[in-house]
C-alpha cells in the first residue's frame, strides 16, 4: 500500500529534476529545507529523524540534492521526505513537506479491532513493517 503523506503523494514519484525544482521554489521563498527519514510509516509518526541540520542560507537546490543523494545512499530503503521551514514571523512552521524516497515494498497497514466493555469496539491501525525491529523493517 502506497503511503500518501504530504504534498504530491498522489502523483507518481517525483524525478530528481522535479524534486530539485520544488526545492528551488522553497529556497526562493526563503524557507530552510530539511531532510528527514524514518522506517515507521504510521501517519501519527510525525517526528522523523533528521539527516543533518536544517539547511539555512542556501541559494541553489544543488546543495540539498547533494545531501539527499547521500541520505539515499545510507537510508535508501526507508522513507525520506523534504520539509521546508518558514522562519518568518507569524509562520514559524513547516510550509511544505513531500516524500522523495520510499521503500521498494510497502506492506501497508492492518486494522485491529479491540473489543472493550459492552459491545464497543476500538480501532487501531498498525503497519506491518513496524512489527519488525527498527532498521530491519524494509528489506
Amino acid at each position: 500500500m502506497r503511503i500518501t503523506q504530504g504534498c504530491f503523494s498522489f502523483l507518481p514519484d517525483l524525478t530528481d529534476e522535479q524534486i530539485s525544482r520544488q526545492v528551488q521554489y522553497c529556497l526562493e521563498n526563503g524557507w530552510a529545507v530539511n531532510i528527514e527519514f524514518t522506517d515507521d510509516p504510521h501517519p501519527r509518526n510525525n517526528l522523523w529523524e533528521m539527516w543533518g541540520l536544517p539547511m539555512f542560507d542556501l541559494r541553489d537546490a544543488a546543495g540539498v540534492m547533494m545531501e539527499l543523494n547521500q541520505c539515499r545512499k545510507v537510508y535508501g530503503d526507508r522513507y525520506i521526505r523534504l520539509s521546508a521551514f518558514d522562519s518568518s514571523h507569524g509562520w514559524e512552521s513547516v510550509r511544505l513537506s513531500f516524500i522523495v524516497n520510499r521503500p521498494k515494498d510497502e506492506p501497508g497497514f492492518r486494522l485491529e479491532r479491540h473489543e472493550v466493555s459492552g459491545r464497543n469496539i476500538r480501532y487501531t491501525t498498525k503497519s506491518y513493517a513496524a512489527d519488525r525491529p527498527e532498521g530491519r523493517r524494509y528489506g
Binding site: 543533518g52 542556501l58 541559494r59 541553489d60 544543488a62 540539498v64 547533494m66
Partner: protein, 304 residues
C-alpha cells in the same frame, strides 16, 4: 523542425550575442574601476570570450561538456584578488555558467573543524551555501599544514576536491593566496593543480597606478588632494613601497583613512574657523606629511 532550428542558428552574430548577455558592460566596468592589472584583465577577457563561444557551441549542440572553471588567483596582498573574484562571479552568472552568481568568501576557519568529525559537516555546509555560485577560498594554502599530519585541513581538501570534480556544473571554486605559498600548496596537493583550469597571477601595482588608485578611492569618498598634498603623496608612495608589510591597494586605503583622521583633527582644532565644503573635502600636504613613513626620510635627508 530540427532542420529549421539548425538553419536559424547556423549563423551567429557575435555582437548580438555579446550584447544579449551584457558582459561587455562588466568588462568595461572592470577596465574603468580597476587600475593597472593589465595581465589579469587580458586573461579575464580571454576567459569571457572562451565562455561566450562555449555557450554558442552548446546551443548549436557542438559540445555538451561543462568546461572546468575553477581558478586560482595568486598575488601579493592588496592586488585586488577579492574584487576580481566578485566580477568573475557576475561574468559567469551572465553567461549562465553559474546559476545564481553569489560569492561565498571563506578562509580556513570556516572550512576546517576543531575536532574529529567536525570538519566534514562544516565544509559541506559552506559548499552547500556556495552551490550555484562561486566559492572564494582566501589564503587557501592554510588548508594544508604539512607540519601537522593529523591536521583536519586535509579532510577539507579531500571533500573540496571531490565536489570540484563531481559537481562542476553547480559550483566554481576560486583559490586565492600569495604566490610563493600557493606554489608550495599546489606542489603538495597535485589534485588541486590539475583541477584548476585558470591560474591568474596578480602583479604588484606601479607607483603611478597606486596614485591613481588613491585618487579613485578619494573620489568615491568625496575627498580630494590639494596640489601640495598630491606631490607629498607621490613621495609617500615611493617611501611606503620600500618598507616592509606593504600591501598595495590595501596600504593605500589605510593611509588614506589615517589622512582623513588627521584632516578631521586639524579642522576640529580650530573651532572658530568658518569652513567651506572645499575645506572639508580637501586633504592638505600637512595631513600627508605627518605620516610616520616620512620620519625615516628626514634624518637621511639632513645627513645628505
Amino acid at each position: 523542425m530540427d532542420m529549421d532550428t539548425a538553419d536559424m542558428t547556423d549563423t551567429v552574430n557575435l555582437r548580438e550575442e555579446l550584447e544579449a548577455v551584457g558582459i561587455e558592460e562588466i568588462l568595461t566596468q572592470l577596465d574603468r574601476e580597476l587600475i593597472g592589472l593589465t595581465p589579469v584583465k587580458t586573461r579575464i577577457r580571454e576567459i569571457a570570450s572562451l565562455l561566450l563561444i562555449e555557450r554558442i557551441r552548446k546551443r548549436l549542440n557542438l559540445t555538451s561538456e561543462v568546461p572546468t572553471l575553477h581558478m586560482s588567483f595568486t598575488g601579493n596582498p592588496g592586488t585586488g584578488k577579492t574584487t576580481v573574484a566578485l566580477r568573475i562571479a557576475s561574468i559567469l552568472h551572465r553567461l549562465g555558467f553559474v546559476r545564481r552568481g553569489q560569492v561565498v568568501s571563506v578562509t580556513r576557519d570556516e572550512l576546517v573543524g576543531q575536532y574529529i568529525g567536525h570538519t566534514a559537516p562544516k565544509t559541506k555546509e559552506v559548499l552547500k551555501k556556495a552551490m550555484g555560485g562561486v566559492l572564494f577560498i582566501d589564503e587557501a594554502y592554510y588548508l594544508h599544514r604539512p607540519d601537522n599530519e593529523r591536521d583536519y585541513g586535509q579532510e577539507a581538501i579531500e571533500i573540496l576536491l571531490q565536489v570540484m570534480e563531481s559537481q562542476r556544473e553547480d559550483l566554481v571554486v576560486i583559490l586565492a593566496g600569495y604566490g610563493d605559498r600557493m606554489d608550495k600548496f599546489f606542489a603538495s596537493n597535485p589534485g588541486f593543480r590539475s583541477r584548476i583550469a585558470h591560474h591568474i597571477d596578480f602583479p604588484d601595482y606601479s607607483e603611478p597606478e597606486l596614485l591613481a588608485i588613491a585618487e579613485l578611492m578619494l573620489r568615491d569618498m568625496n575627498y580630494k588632494f590639494s596640489a601640495d598634498a598630491r606631490q607629498a603623496f607621490i613621495r609617500y608612495i615611493a617611501l611606503r613601497r620600500t618598507q616592509p608589510l606593504f600591501s598595495n591597494a590595501r596600504s593605500i586605503r589605510n593611509a588614506l583613512d589615517r589622512m582623513r583622521l588627521r584632516q578631521a583633527n586639524r579642522l576640529v582644532a580650530d573651532l572658530d574657523r568658518v569652513l567651506t565644503a572645499d575645506d572639508i573635502m580637501s586633504l592638505e600636504a600637512s595631513d600627508v606629511l605627518a605620516s610616520r613613513v616620512f620620519l625615516k626620510e628626514r634624518p637621511i635627508a639632513s645627513s645628505a
